[in-house]
C-alpha cells in the first residue's frame, strides 16, 4: 500500500530559523516554536500568522497545546516556560525553571500540558519529570517529582491522552512510564540504545511510538494488564529513515503515524502493516510533525503539519480526500 500526501499549504512568513516543535490545535490553527525564539500561531486555511509572541532571548525547544486548543505551553533552551492564551493572546504564566534560588529547581527541557488541565510536566537533566502548576496564579510551582532513578537527560515527555500516565524519553534511549495517581514508575523500556527525541501516544492510550537517533521508530504496547503488569513492550520496529528520527505523531484514528527525520524526509507509516506508506522529501531536518487532531473524513488518511530546518510550516493532506 502506498499513500500520497500533498503539500496543501505553506506558511506565508517563515521563521527566521529552524522550527523545533509544532502542534495542530483543535481550532484548526497550527502553533510553531522556533530556534529564533519566536512562537507563532497560524491559520490553517490561509497559512498566515494569526498571533505571535515577540522573540524570547533564546531558542524555544518544546511546545504543548491543550486539547481544546485554547492554551499553548512552550519552553526555551534555558528552561523558561510560558503559558500562552491563544484566544486572548496573553501570557498566563511564566516560569524560569533554571532559577536555582528555588530549592531543588532544575531547568526544564521538554514540557507537556496535562490534558485535564491544572498542571504541566517538564523533563530535566537528571532523569526526573517535574510536575508544575499550570494555574496562572501559582504557575510554575513544583508539585511533584517523578524520578526515573537514572541520571539521564529527558529528551521528551508526554501525558497520555487521558492524563493518567506520563511517558519520558531519555538521551540514552530508555523510555519510562509513570502512573500519575500513585506517582510511581510503572514501566521501563530499553528498546533503544540511542537518544529518543520524540514520543507519541495513541488516542486510546494503548500504544506508544518512540523515535530515536538509532534511525528507528519502535511501537510499544503499553497497556497495563489486569494484574497491573506492564504491556508486552516493543511490538514493531519501523525502519527506513537513514538518519536520526527527530519527531513522531500517531494519527487520531490510530492507523497511521508520521515521522520527521534528520535524513530530510517525512515518512508516513501504516501501523498495522508496519511499513512506510509515504515518503516526502524535505529540504532540511524535519524537527517537528503533528497530525490534525480532528478525525478525518471517512476514506481520507487525514492531514498533518510539519516544521523543520528552513523555518517553514507546511500543511500536508492525503491525496484523494477533498480539501
Amino acid at each position: 500500500m502506498s499513500l500520497a500526501f500533498l503539500n496543501a499549504l505553506e506558511c506565508t512568513e517563515p521563521h527566521a530559523d529552524a522550527i523545533w516543535d509544532i502542534a495542530w490545535t483543535a481550532n484548526d490553527t497550527a502553533v510553531s516554536v522556533s530556534a529564533d525564539g519566536t512562537v507563532k500561531q497560524w491559520d490553517s486555511t490561509s497559512g498566515q500568522i494569526s498571533k505571535s509572541r515577540p522573540p524570547h532571548t533564546l531558542a524555544i525547544v518544546s511546545l504543548s497545546v491543550s486539547p481544546d486548543g485554547r492554551h499553548a505551553l512552550y519552553n526555551s533552551l534555558d528552561g523558561t516556560t510560558c503559558l500562552w492564551d491563544l484566544q486572548d493572546d496573553n501570557i498566563l504564566g511564566q516560569h524560569a525553571s533554571y532559577d536555582r534560588a528555588v530549592e531543588g529547581a532544575e531547568p526544564s527541557w521538554s514540557v507537556s500540558l496535562n490534558p485535564k488541565g491544572g498542571t504541566y510536566a517538564g523533563t530535566s537533566g537528571s532523569g526526573n519529570v517535574n510536575i508544575y502548576s499550570a494555574n496562572p496564579d501559582s504557575f510554575g510551582s513544583r508539585q511533584l517529582v517523578l524520578s526515573s532513578g537514572r541520571n539521564k537527560h529527558g529528551m521528551d515527555c508526554k501525558y497520555s491522552p487521558d492524563g493518567s500516565r506520563i511517558a519520558l524519553a531519555t538521551e540514552t534511549g530508555q523510555v519510562f512510564i509513570f502512573e500519575l495517581e500513585s506517582g510511581t514508575l510503572t514501566s521501563t523500556y530499553s528498546t533503544h540504545a540511542m537518544a529518543v527525541r520524540s514520543l507519541s501516544w495513541s488516542a486510546d492510550g494503548q500504544l506508544l511510538l518512540t523515535a530515536s537517533e538509532d534511525k528507528r521508530l519502535i511501537l510499544h504496547d503499553v497497556r497495563s494488564g489486569p494484574s497491573g503488569k506492564p504491556g508486552s513492550g516493543a511490538v514493531a520496529t519501523l525502519t527506513g529513515h537513514s538518519s536520526w528520527v527527530l519527531s513522531t505523531d500517531i494519527s487520531p484514528d490510530g492507523r497511521l503515524a508520521v515521522s520527521g527525520s534528520a535524513d530530510k524526509t517525512i515518512k508516513v507509516w501504516d501501523l498495522a502493516a508496519r511499513t512506510a506508506v509515504s515518503t516526502i522529501q524535505d529540504s532540511g531536518e524535519v524537527w517537528a510533525v503533528a497530525w490534525r487532531p480532528k478525525p478525518s473524513a471517512t476514506g481520507s488518511a487525514g492531514a498533518f503539519v510539519s516544521g523543520g530546518e528552513d523555518g517553514r510550516v507546511r500543511w500536508w493532506r492525503s491525496a484523494g480526500a477533498g480539501s
Binding site: A35, T239, E285
Partner: protein, 1087 residues
C-alpha cells in the same frame, strides 16, 4: 648425331656394328632392361652421341637407373677405346642424373623418425657430391683431350648443380655465361629466372619465364609454374591462378601446378567474406589438388607439408607425422624445414609426446627465431614444463626488436605470463611485471581494435583477432591487472568480459560480483545491488561446492550494499544467514557487530567480536576492527593492550595497528592530567612514542593518510615541544611565533591529506590550525565544510568549534552580528546535546560579551535596536550565570566561582546599560534630526528648482505662441499679396496654398528620410564599381559612415582598386573589409 639417321616414321636410332651391320633401336619402344642395348653399344663401339642419346632417352622414360648404367658403360667403353676425350658429355649426363636423383633424395635422414623411416637412403648431399665429381671428371677428360674446358653443356650442368646446392651467385654466373653464347638457351633462362625469383626480383623473373614460354610453349619444367609464382608474389593472385590452371591443362601429370592450385584453394577457403558453402568447396578442391600433387611426387617436401596440414586438421596424427617427417627430410629451404618441424611438433604436441614436441619446436625456433607459431609452440611447451621464465624469454625474443613480430596471440600470451606471479620473484619485480603486462595488453587490444575497425570497414578481419577479443578470461585478467591502478580500466575490462560472457549465455557470477563491487565502491549502490543479486542467482544455479563458495562471498557483498543503502533489516538478515551457514565467517560477524554498535548495543557487539576473535585470533582485519570498536566504545586501556598485543604477537608491521597505537598514545598523553614531574616525563614519552608509531606507519606505507594526519596533529600542537613541556616556556612572542609556524606546517600536510582522505576530521583539523593562526574566516570555512559535508550539522563538537570561531571573529572585528551567529551555533549544539552544561555556560558568556562589545563601540556604529536586544540578552545571561553558579550537581564542566564572578561582572557592566541607552537614543535622535534637516533641505532645493524649470517652460511656451502668431500674420499677408497679384479662382488658390506648405514640410523633415538617398547611393556604388568617378563616391560613402579612422584606408583602397579594377566583380563589400584590416598592418609599411 650425324650418323644416327632418324627414320622419318617412328623415332629410332641406328647402331652400326662393325661397319656392316646396322641395328635400329626403336626409341619409342625401349626395353626397360638396358642389358641388351648395352651389349650392343659396347660391341658397336659407338660414338658418344649415341650413348648419350640412348641414355637420355632412358632417362626421359624415367628409367633413371638404366640411363645411369648406360652412361657408366659409355665411360668404360670410351676409356677402353681410348676415346676419353669425347667423354665429357657423358660425365655431364652422369652429373645431371645425380642431380635428378638428389631431387628425390632426402635432405637429411632423421635417425629417430617414427613414421617416415628413410634409414639407408642416400641424402641429397651425397648425390650432389657425386655430381660434382662427375663434373670434375668431365672437365678433366676434356682437358686431357685438349678440347678445353667449357662448352654450353658443361656450363649448364655446372649451373644446375650450383643452383641445386644453393650457390646462387655461382649458378647465375654459369647461366649468364651460357646465355652470353646462346641467348635462347631454355635451361639457362629457366635457371636464371629461378635465381631471380629466389632473390625476389619477381618482375625480372616473370619476364624470363614468359620468354621461355614464348620460345617453347611445351617446355618442361613448365615455365607457367614460375610465371604463376611471380604473379602471386606480385599480388596478382587471380592471374597466378590462371597460369597454374593453364599449366595443369597442358601437363596434367605435373604435380607443382596441382600443389600450388591446392594451396590457393585452401587459402581461399579461409576468406571470411565468402559464404560457408563456397569456402567448404574451395577447401575440398584444395585438398584434392594437394593429394594428387603428393601422389604425383611423394618426395616433394612442399606437397608433403601441405598434405600434412590437412591430416593434422583431420586429426590423423600418424599420417600427419609421417608427412611432417617427410617434409623435414626432404625440405631444401629453411622455411619449409621450419614448417616441417612445426608440424611435427604440433602432431606430437597434440599426441602428448611433449619431450619430442619440445625438441621440434626448439629446432624450428633455432632455425627461425622470429617464427610466430614456433615461438608460441615452444612457449607452450615451456609453460607445460613449468619453465615460465623460459616461456617469457621465448615470446619476448619474438616480439622484441630486432625485427619484432606483430603477433597479437604472442603478445596476449606474454602479457598473461607476465601478469601471473611466479615463485621467487620479488614484489617490486611483480609490480614491474604487472606494468609490463598491462602495457602488452594495451598494445594487443589496440591491434585488435584496429582489426576490428578494419573488419567493420568491409575488410576481412582476421578470425584470430576476433577469437582473441572474445576471450573472456583475457578481459578478466586485464581487469585484475588494473584493479590496483585504475578502477575505470578494471570496470571497462570487466564489462567487456561480461558482454562476452552474456553472449555465451553462461554468465560467470564472479564477473557480476566484481562489477557489482566496482559499482559499490563508486557509490552506485542500486546498480551494485542489482549486479550482486544477479550474481547470486547465477551462482545458485551452479549448485556444486564452487557455487556455494561463490554465493557466500556474493551474499556478503550484497549484505554490505544493503547496509550501505540503509536497509538494515535486509542486511541483518543476510549476515544472519551467512553466519548460520558458516559460523566462523568473521567478516559477516564483524558487520553484525558494527550494526549492533551503530544502535549503541555495545555489549552484544562486543560478545560477537569476542566470538570472532576466538575463532580467528590472528586475523588482522578482525583485530583492526576490534581495536576500532574498543576505541569507539571509549575503552582506551583495553584498546591499548590489544593493539600492542597485535603488534607484538601478530604483525609488527601492521600499518593499521601502528596508526591506532599512535593515536592511543597521543590521546593518553594529551588527556593526562598528572602534573607531577614523573607524570610530565611520562607524558612527553607518550608523545614521542606516538610520533614514532606514526612515523613507522608512514615508512611502511608512504601514502597512509591517517598516519600523516597523526603526525600533522603532533606538529600542529607542538606535542614534542610545548605541549609535552619539554621546552621551557619562553617569551610569549616566541611562543606565538612558533604556534603560527607549526600551524602553517601542519596545514600544508592537511591540505595534502585532504586529497586522499575524504573525512570530516581533516577539515576539522584544518579549522583548528587556522584558528590557531587567528585566521578565523578560514577556520569557519573549514569547520563549515566538515559540519555540512560530513556530519550533516549533527556533530556537536564541530558546532562548538564554529561557535568558538565566530566568537573570536566577532571579538576581533567588533561585530555584533558575529556574536549572534556564535550564539546561534551554541544553541544548535545545545539542542542536539541538551545535557551539556558547558554549552549553557557558553551561551551566557556570549550573551554577556555581546553587550560588552556593543558598549565598547562608537554609538554611530551601533543601533538602538541592537543595543536594547543586547542588554536584554545580557540581563538574561545574569540569570543563567546565577543558575549555573548555584547548580548543585556533583560535577559541572565549568567553574561555579567563575560563573558567579561573571555574574557580578555583568552586574556592574549592565549598570551602565541605561547610560548607554540614553547616549544611543540621543545620538540617534541627533542623527535623525540631522537626517531630517538634510532631507528638508534637499526637498526645498528640489522645489526651488522645479519652480525655476516651470518658469522657463512657461517662457518658452509664450515665445512659441508669439512666433506662431507672427507666422500666421505673415502668411495672411502673403495670401493677401497673391490674391492681389493673381486673378485665379478662390478655390484654386486655396488648393495651391495648401499643397505648398506640405511639400516644404516633407523636405524639412530631414533626419531619417534624408539618410535614405545616401543609402541608395551606397547601394549603387557596390554594384557600379567600375565607374569613372568611383573615387569621389568612395569618399562620400566613407564620410557618410563618418569614421575618420578609416580614411587612411580609403586612399589605399583607391589605389588598389585601380590596380585590380578588372578583377573587381561582385563581392565589393568583402573586398573593402579585407583592405581595412590590411591597412592597419602591412600596407602601411608597404606604402
Amino acid at each position: 648425331m650425324e650418323d644416327a639417321a632418324t627414320s622419318s616414321g617412328g623415332r629410332s636410332i641406328d647402331i652400326e656394328l662393325g661397319g656392316q651391320e646396322v641395328i635400329t633401336i626403336d626409341l619409342d619402344n625401349l626395353d626397360p632392361n638396358p642389358e641388351d642395348v648395352l651389349d650392343l653399344l659396347k660391341e658397336g663401339q659407338c660414338r658418344v652421341s649415341v650413348w648419350t642419346r640412348l641414355a637420355g632417352e632412358y632417362w626421359r622414360r624415367g628409367y633413371l637407373a638404366a640411363a645411369e648404367r648406360i652412361a657408366q658403360a659409355a665411360i668404360e667403353s670410351l676409356q677402353a677405346n681410348g676415346a676419353t676425350a669425347s667423354s665429357p658429355p657423358i660425365y655431364a649426363l652422369l652429373a645431371n642424373i645425380q642431380i635428378a636423383l638428389a631431387q628425390k633424395a632426402p635432405k637429411v635422414v632423421l635417425g629417430d623418425a617414427r613414421e617416415d623411416k628413410l634409414a639407408g637412403e642416400r641424402t641429397k648431399e651425397e648425390y650432389y657430391k657425386e655430381a660434382a665429381q662427375y663434373l670434375n671428371s668431365g672437365e678433366r677428360a676434356a682437358a686431357e683431350g685438349g678440347e678445353g674446358v667449357g662448352g654450353t653443356l658443361a656450363f649448364l650442368t655446372r649451373g644446375i648443380q650450383q643452383l641445386a646446392t644453393r650457390s646462387m651467385d655461382d649458378a647465375l654466373r654459369s647461366f649468364e655465361g651460357v646465355l652470353a653464347v646462346k641467348p635462347t638457351n631454355l635451361v639457362a633462362l629457366l635457371g636464371k629466372a629461378r635465381i631471380l625469383y629466389a632473390r625476389r626480383s619477381y618482375p625480372q623473373a616473370l619476364k624470363l619465364f614468359q620468354n621461355v614460354l614464348q620460345l617453347n610453349p611445351s617446355c618442361l619444367p613448365d615455365p607457367r609454374i614460375g610465371i604463376g609464382l611471380c604473379l602471386w608474389a606480385m599480388d596478382h593472385k587471380a592471374k597466378a591462378k590462371a597460369a597454374w590452371q593453364r599449366s595443369l591443362e597442358v601437363n596434367p601429370s605435373q604435380w607443382p601446378a596441382q600443389l600450388l592450385l591446392g594451396l590457393e584453394s585452401i587459402n581461399a577457403s579461409k576468406a571470411e567474406n565468402q559464404p560457408e558453402a563456397i569456402r567448404a568447396q574451395s577447401f575440398l578442391a584444395g585438398t584434392k589438388f594437394i593429394e594428387k600433387a603428393f601422389n604425383a611426387n611423394q618426395k616433394s617436401a612442399a606437397a608433403a607439408n601441405a598434405l600434412c596440414e590437412l591430416f593434422l586438421r583431420k586429426g590423423s596424427y600418424k599420417r600427419a607425422l609421417k608427412l611432417a617427417e617427410r617434409t623435414i627430410q626432404f625440405a631444401d629451404t629453411l622455411t619449409l624445414l621450419t614448417e616441417g618441424y612445426l608440424r611435427a611438433a604440433r602432431v606430437l604436441h597434440a599426441e602428448g609426446s611433449l619431450a619430442q614436441a619440445t625438441k621440434y619446436y626448439t629446432l624450428a625456433t633455432e632455425g627461425q627465431p622470429k617464427h610466430v607459431m614456433g615461438a608460441i609452440g615452444l612457449a607452450q611447451m615451456q609453460m607445460q614444463n613449468d619453465e615460465m621464465a623460459a616461456a617469457i624469454h621465448t615470446l619476448d625474443t619474438l616480439i622484441q626488436p630486432p625485427n619484432p613480430q606483430r603477433s597479437v596471440e604472442a603478445t596476449v600470451m606474454l602479457a598473461s605470463l607476465r601478469a601471473h606471479p611466479r615463485p621467487g620473484v620479488s614484489s617490486s619485480d611483480v609490480t614491474q611485471e604487472k606494468a609490463k603486462a598491462r602495457e602488452l595488453f594495451d598494445r594487443a587490444s589496440k591491434t585488435l581494435e584496429l582489426e576490428d575497425t578494419r573488419a567493420t570497414n568491409g575488410h576481412t578481419g582476421r578470425a584470430v583477432a576476433h577469437h582473441i577479443n572474445e576471450d573472456m578470461d583475457m578481459h578478466a585478467e586485464i581487469a585484475r591487472l588494473w584493479q590496483d591502478e585504475s578502477l575505470e580500466r578494471t570496470s571497462r575490462a570487466l564489462k567487456e568480459a561480461l558482454r562476452i560472457s552474456e553472449a555465451s549465455e553462461r554468465v560467470d557470477p564472479r564477473l557480476l560480483n566484481n562489477l557489482g563491487a566496482l559499482q559499490h565502491m563508486e557509490g552506485n549502490l542500486e546498480q551494485a545491488r542489482v549486479m550482486y543479486e544477479g550474481a547470486l542467482t547465477k551462482a545458485a544455479g551452479l549448485g556444486s561446492e564452487v557455487g556455494e563458495g561463490m554465493s557466500t562471498s556474493i551474499l556478503y557483498n550484497l549484505a554490505r550494499v544493503y547496509e550501505d543503502s540503509g536497509d538494515t533489516v535486509m542486511a541483518k538478515e543476510a549476515y544472519d544467514k551467512l553466519v548460520a551457514r558458516h559460523p566462523e565467517y568473521v567478516d559477516a560477524k564483524i558487520r553484525q557487530a558494527q550494526m549492533l554498535a551503530n544502535l549503541n548495543q555495545s555489549n552484544e557487539a562486543h560478545e560477537l567480536l569476542k566470538q570472532a576473535l576466538a575463532s580467528q585470533n590472528s586475523n588482522l582485519n578482525l583485530r583492526a576492527f576490534y581495536t576500532y570498536f574498543l576505541i569507539q566504545s571509549n575503552l582506551p586501556k583495553p584498546a591499548k593492550d590489544f593493539v600492542f598485543a597485535t603488534l607484538k604477537d601478530h604483525d609488527k608491521y601492521d600499518v593499521y595497528s601502528l596508526c591506532a597505537a599512535g593515536w592511543i598514545m597521543y590521546h593518553q598523553s594529551r588527556e593526562s592530567r598528572d602534573s607531577s614531574s614523573k607524570g610530565m616525563e611520562e607524558r612527553k614519552r607518550g608523545f614521542q612514542r606516538s610520533a614514532e608509531f606514526y612515523d613507522k606507519a608512514l615508512q611502511l606505507d608512504p601514502l597512509c593518510a591517517v598516519a600523516a594526519q597523526g603526525l600533522a596533529i603532533v606538529t600542529a600542537e607542538d606535542a614534542l615541544g610545548t605541549l609535552s613541556g619539554s621546552v621551557p616556556p619562553s617569551s610569549a612572542a616566541d611562543e606565538a611565533q612558533r604556534r603560527l609556524k607549526n600551524a602553517r606546517d601542519a596545514l600544508d600536510v592537511f591540505a595534502k591529506i585532504r586529497e586522499s582522505l575524504s573525512d570530516g576530521s581533516v577539515y576539522v583539523n584544518m579549522g583548528h590550525c587556522y584558528y590557531a593562526r587567528d585566521e578565523f574566516d578560514r577556520a569557519i570555512e573549514s569547520y563549515e565544510t566538515a559540519s555540512l559535508r560530513f556530519y550533516d550539522g549533527h556533530n556537536v563538537s564541530v558546532l562548538l568549534c564554529l561557535c568558538r570561531s565566530w566568537y573570536a571573529k566577532a571579538n576581533k572585528e567588533q561585530s555584533f552580528a558575529g556574536m549572534r551567529t556564535s550564539l546561534k551555533y551554541a544553541e544548535m549544539a545545545l539542542h542536539i546535546q541538551p545535557n551539556d552544561k558547558a554549552v549553557m555556560y557558553n551561551i551566557a558568556m556570549i550573551q554577556q560579551k555581546a553587550a560588552e562589545l556593543l558598549f565598547g563601540i562608537n554609538p554611530t556604529k551601533r543601533s538602538l535596536k541592537d543595543l536594547e536586544w543586547a542588554i536584554s540578552q545580557a540581563g538574561h545571561a545574569q540569570r543563567l550565570f546565577g543558575s549555573l553558579a548555584a547548580d548543585q550537581s556533583p560535577l559541572v564542566p565549568y567553574s561555579r566561582e567563575i560563573a558567579d564572578q561573571r555574574r557580578k561582572y555583568g552586574e556592574s557592566m549592565l549598570r551602565r546599560g541605561d547610560e548607554h541607552l540614553a547616549t544611543q537614543k540621543q545620538v540617534e535622535a541627533e542623527a535623525q534630526a540631522k537626517l531630517d534637516a538634510a532631507r528638508r533641505k534637499r526637498q526645498e532645493e528640489k522645489e526651488r528648482l522645479q519652480a525655476l524649470e516651470h518658469e522657463r517652460m512657461e517662457e518658452l511656451r509664450k515665445q512659441a505662441e508669439k512666433l506662431a502668431e507672427e507666422r500666421r500674420i505673415a502668411r495672411e499677408q502673403a495670401l493677401e499679396w497673391t490674391r492681389e497679384v493673381q486673378m485665379e479662382s478662390d478655390e484654386e488658390r486655396e488648393r495651391k496654398s495648401k499643397r505648398a506648405p506640405k511639400k516644404v514640410k516633407v523636405e524639412g523633415e530631414s533626419g531619417d528620410e534624408g539618410a535614405e538617398p545616401k543609402k541608395k547611393r551606397r547601394g549603387k556604388l557596390k554594384k557600379a564599381n567600375d565607374q569613372a568617378d568611383e573615387n569621389g563616391q568612395l569618399f562620400s560613402d566613407e564620410e557618410a559612415d563618418s569614421k575618420p579612422a578609416k580614411k587612411r584606408g580609403v586612399k589605399k583602397r583607391v589605389v588598389r582598386d585601380d590596380d585590380d579594377q578588372e578583377a573587381a566583380g561582385g563581392p565589393r563589400k568583402k573586398h573593402f573589409k579585407s583592405k581595412e584590416i590590411l591597412s592597419d598592418t602591412d600596407d602601411e609599411e608597404m606604402s
